[in-house]
Symmetry: C2
Subunit: 204 residues, 2 copies
């Protein structure tokens, strides 16, 4: 049950299963087949994934929806209580702040940072926007470990370095550059142009 033993892809799918389960909360029991189909995977894959966490199902019957939901919430739960900051309140950054998709899922974006804290776009946000110079102190004081990076590519590496120096351990990077970080830092890149290019390539 050591975290390190669980493949990253499995953890990713657990998040998907969890969301599918939430939509099934009026049901008692679900088979691996039904849940897997809803989640877009094969049933054997789902069973293998869930088996990392012990015997969760009942043979001949399936999985208890409430019990499985609770177990996944427990496994992923700590993850969803992290405070998050967003750095770079441009078009994309401020849209993500307004988007609400994070808060709905249990993440609290506690503050945003931008070179120009009074930036027009930030006016009607409910989340405070601070100047970049306040960034290190904020991270240290609030023990922030997770950051969303939506600054221009040209400054992304520099800002990234500052984040890490202050104690950030994981970064969701929207800047279209390859960030170079120490090995223990977790980075997930979301490069929209590359995603489009990749999709487009596979249109036959």
């Amino acid at each position: 049950m050591n975290k390190a033993e669980i493949p990253r892809k499995t953890v990713y799918r657990l998040s998907v299963y969890y969301r599918v389960l939430l939509a099934l909360k009026n049901i008692d029991t679900v088979s691996s087949e039904a849940l897997a189909t809803a989640a877009g995977v094969k049933s054997t894959q789902l069973r293998k994934d869930l088996a990392y966490f012990g015997q969760l199902g009942t043979r001949g019957l399936g999985y208890s929806v409430p019990a499985l939901t609770a177990r996944l919430s427990e496994v992923l739960g700590a993850a969803r209580l992290q405070p998050v900051i967003l750095v770079g309140a441009g078009h994309l950054g401020s849209a993500l702040l307004r988007y609400g998709g994070f808060a709905k899922e249990g993440f609290e974006v506690v503050a945003a940072f931008d070179l120009d804290a009074s930036r027009e776009r930030a006016r009607d946000l409910s989340i405070p926007v601070y100047s970049m110079e306040n960034l290190p102190a904020f991270i240290t004081e609030k023990k922030i470990k997770l950051a969303i990076l939506t600054v221009p590519g040209a400054v992304a590496q520099e800002v990234c370095n500052n984040l890490i120096k202050s104690g950030v351990q994981a970064i969701l990077n929207f800047a279209p550059v390859v960030l170079h970080t120490p090995e223990q830092i977790v980075v997930k890149n979301v490069d929209l142009a590359i995603e489009l290019e990749n999709l487009s390539y596979f249109i036959r």
Copy 2:
């Protein structure tokens, strides 16, 4: 050189290499080691990836930056000339339209669609926003194959079905649901809450 033989992950990395190369355009020659480091991968991986497209390097010397850039542009080029539509001009959708990261990379978002085409947020966009009822005709007439889906989760599957029915072949999906599509349709999910949850899980 059949497309089908090239792993999806390799194609993804080609896009990364291409962008790194663009930043190196004042240099003549680059070694796999240097390029790989800049792209955040191992040099053997880069050489394997490039070898899918024939002998691109010179032994003992490295790769010609202009020649390699041209070759990758050729391989990925067709991908970047696709017209794209965006469906759902809410916070996230309209931010993506304004973001500009697509156009800069050669993608043209030719139109957006929303239930309310006159929606406040869409006012100052340079891209036309049409009502959803115009969607099927537009896709058919302009032979659109690629769509960005930024509608609420509750209607995503329905909208997705309509897109496919009209001829869309690939979807970049931001709605937090699992889309069920025919096998030949390519879907890439970008679920921001799941990405955050996943990152957060791996903070030790």
